[in-house]
């Protein structure tokens, strides 16, 4: 399906901290009446184990192209959606954002659906991995096929 390039405003894999305000600004437009943002953040506990931080690795070029494909498919399903997506790689501290999805639309239902669709597809399809750093000093790559991530 042909999708207007302007709907997918920005897709990137980044190593610097995600600037949420800048992403929100990119999504804004006079016709926007609803902005939905999903932020994935590093939490301090997983599966009962205290976590001190998280390390993200990506197959950079493919992660970016797959993320762009997801964004374009989502804009193809939801006419008028404006999407801005960043996923961070590297070592993150508790509370830092690993992924930000800003979905803007004239109406709230489409904006909220857009953000959800992108994060759900991202978790299924984008080649990115995370290794938890535990307070005990251990480190472990998460495998969502084995545990609830």
């Amino acid at each position: 399906m042909m999708v207007p390039e302007r709907d997918v405003l920005h897709v990137a894999i980044v190593s610097a901290p995600i600037d949420v305000g800048a992403l929100l600004s990119r999504a804004q437009a006079p016709g926007v009446g609803a902005v939905s943002m999903f932020l994935g953040t590093v939490r301090d506990l997983n599966d009962g184990r205290p976590v001190s931080g998280m390390e993200y690795e990506a197959y950079g070029p493919m992660a970016e192209s797959e993320l762009r494909a997801i964004a374009e498919e989502t804009c193809g399903r939801i006419a008028g959606l404006r999407l801005v997506v960043e996923h961070r790689v590297g070592t993150l501290e508790i509370g830092e954002a690993s992924v930000a999805i800003v979905a803007a639309h004239a109406h709230r239902a489409q904006a909220m659906d857009g953000a959800r669709d992108v994060i759900e597809a991202l978790k299924r399809r984008v080649p990115i991995w995370k290794r938890e750093h535990y307070l005990s000093g251990d480190r472990e790559w998460l495998d969502p096929t084995k545990v609830q991530a």
Binding site: G40, A58, M62, S98, V126, I128, W129, K130
Partner: protein
């Protein structure tokens, strides 16, 4: 001959490398390639049907691999 295969995350740890030179004649199918990789040191840590990307696109195991393709063995993805 051998062809390079990119490794990431837990698979890079399993093989102790970020790139494997896999001894196999190409063209071959992805399934043939995976079979050879599985026989290499560390290959026993791979799941039954590991994900593979060729030229940055997901592929099935019956896809043919050519000289010059960018091949990656992809651990279960865990973004977000």
């Amino acid at each position: 001959m051998s062809i390079p295969v990119l490794l990431f995350a837990s698979y890079a740890d399993a093989f102790g490398a970020r790139r494997l030179d896999v001894p196999i004649d190409v063209p071959c199918q992805v399934a043939d390639l995976v079979r050879v990789i599985r026989s290499m040191p560390g290959g026993d840590r791979l799941p039954a049907a590991p994900l593979v990307a060729v030229n940055r696109t997901w592929v099935r195991e019956d896809v043919a691999v050519q000289v010059g393709d960018e091949i990656a063995l992809i651990p279960p993805v865990a973004g977000g």
